[in-house]
Symmetry: C2
Subunit: 316 residues, 2 copies
Amino acid sequence: MDGDRAGRHFIGVDLGGTHLRVARVDGVGAILAGTRVRTDREGGPLAVAAQIEQLVASLRDDVTVAVGVGIPGAFDRATGTVLGIPALPGWAGMNLVARLQDSTGLPCILENDATAAAIGEWRAGAGQGCAHFVYITISTGIGAGVIVDGRVLLGARGLAGEIGHCRIADASDPCSCGQIGCWEAVASGTALGRRAARVAEADPTGLMARLAAGGQVTAAHVGQAARAGDARALELLAEEAVWLGYGLVNAQHLYAPERIVIGGGLSILLDLMADEIAAVVRDRTLPGFPEAPILRAALGDDAGTIGAALQAGLTY
Amino acid sequence: MDGDRAGRHFIGVDLGGTHLRVARVDGVGAILAGTRVRTDREGGPLAVAAQIEQLVASLRDDVTVAVGVGIPGAFDRATGTVLGIPALPGWAGMNLVARLQDSTGLPCILENDATAAAIGEWRAGAGQGCAHFVYITISTGIGAGVIVDGRVLLGARGLAGEIGHCRIADASDPCSCGQIGCWEAVASGTALGRRAARVAEADPTGLMARLAAGGQVTAAHVGQAARAGDARALELLAEEAVWLGYGLVNAQHLYAPERIVIGGGLSILLDLMADEIAAVVRDRTLPGFPEAPILRAALGDDAGTIGAALQAGLTY
């Protein structure tokens, strides 16, 4: 498509607290080769950097020209230094860009992991063709990446888009950030799992309790039970849908997207909540706003690597 | 500063439900001449357009090259047609751009009024020098204009930034939009006035009731009483500060500004609430976000005309 970029490949890295995903991607976001390993948490940042270096070396080809790394934390965009990764201790102060550039000889960029996933869905997934687009990942927590006016929304230090930690309710269990009332605290998979655990505790012979088999009841059990027609699980999902709907209306008012795409573990339950979410969105969205379709992410767990690679490709 | 633009002037129009402000502005946002009249509401859109035309004619000079109009409503950016102005009936379908261009012979643009005020404060007021900047006007309602990554945030139909109608609380009096729990419904001047009216009703000999002298107790009376040291008024402002603080933290997380500027009627009480607002912001803002100073607007009621004029100047 873009003549002088034809035939260029990019490596995308998705550095997660559990898994490290690396892929070689072409200029339109197709994965040409990819792999996933467990992140060497215990080894610390040097061991993980060595994992990345080894996977880049094994995946790069003759026309690989840059590396993009999505990280679940804060970093200094100017220097490439990681400021901190909540899920991975010991990373503060690590200059990952300098290290990867030294070892690979390729230019390297960092990107926030939710932003990287948003870029992936925007340019190669369910957000294609939109000038205004919000990607929201709902799993343990809630993160977002935002495209407005045809550009990635960054803000100071690249931190814009933290809609998961906006106050949306008066009461909640404590959020991962320590506050009360964040959207994440009432609408994440963690929040749904907590509500389900209370229901299961009060009803130890119910389906959700039986599915958990003595272990922790989670959002996944709610989904399983709901698909089997369990009334209590369906009620929990209806409640979850209202909390999701409130936050999605906020996202509309804040960023005026043409489309909202939902990724993360909870997105596989979107079909069970679609009607209730749509009802809240219809009820609360201000007149004049576009009716933004709410879709499930198309790239699954690959959105982050694809987006990080494409962002590296745009930069170099 | 900008060589080929030196000596060019622009007319800015702030079309309000009560007042119509028009000013001739230079390339850096200084008002060279300006006037304010009552908006001819009863006359309808044709009469108001004639008011605008007459004021533009009286204020333009030989180097006036464009007109910008800030309107408190929705419009079609491509065609210049007004879609509706809640405070002024009868405007839907009026092509204000075509009409003003025909009658003045000058190119004309429309801009949302809060966005225009944000542009004014950004380029000529308290937001100067910021790449990431949020302007929030707090009066009867709550509106916002957002600058991120050095550009005005628009979104689909230019509607991004409606932070006043984001859900922030479980309960409230009905919002102007008809919903419950919007930031505007708990933190606007209207919301403060309603809480004050309840306090005054329960305490008819108190200072706020006496200041209202049998009329409606408003946010202005709260301010007067608080400056006189009235304990109940100070309590109301402390509560108001918490609601403002919650929304300002949301604004930080959503747009990651370097600075937040507050305009509108309630901004004159900012000094009385600064400590409580700062405490909420300190407590709830995520680590890593810049400490964005929260300042009172510098341009007062002129922000909208200046911003509309400067935006016209940037466009033409």
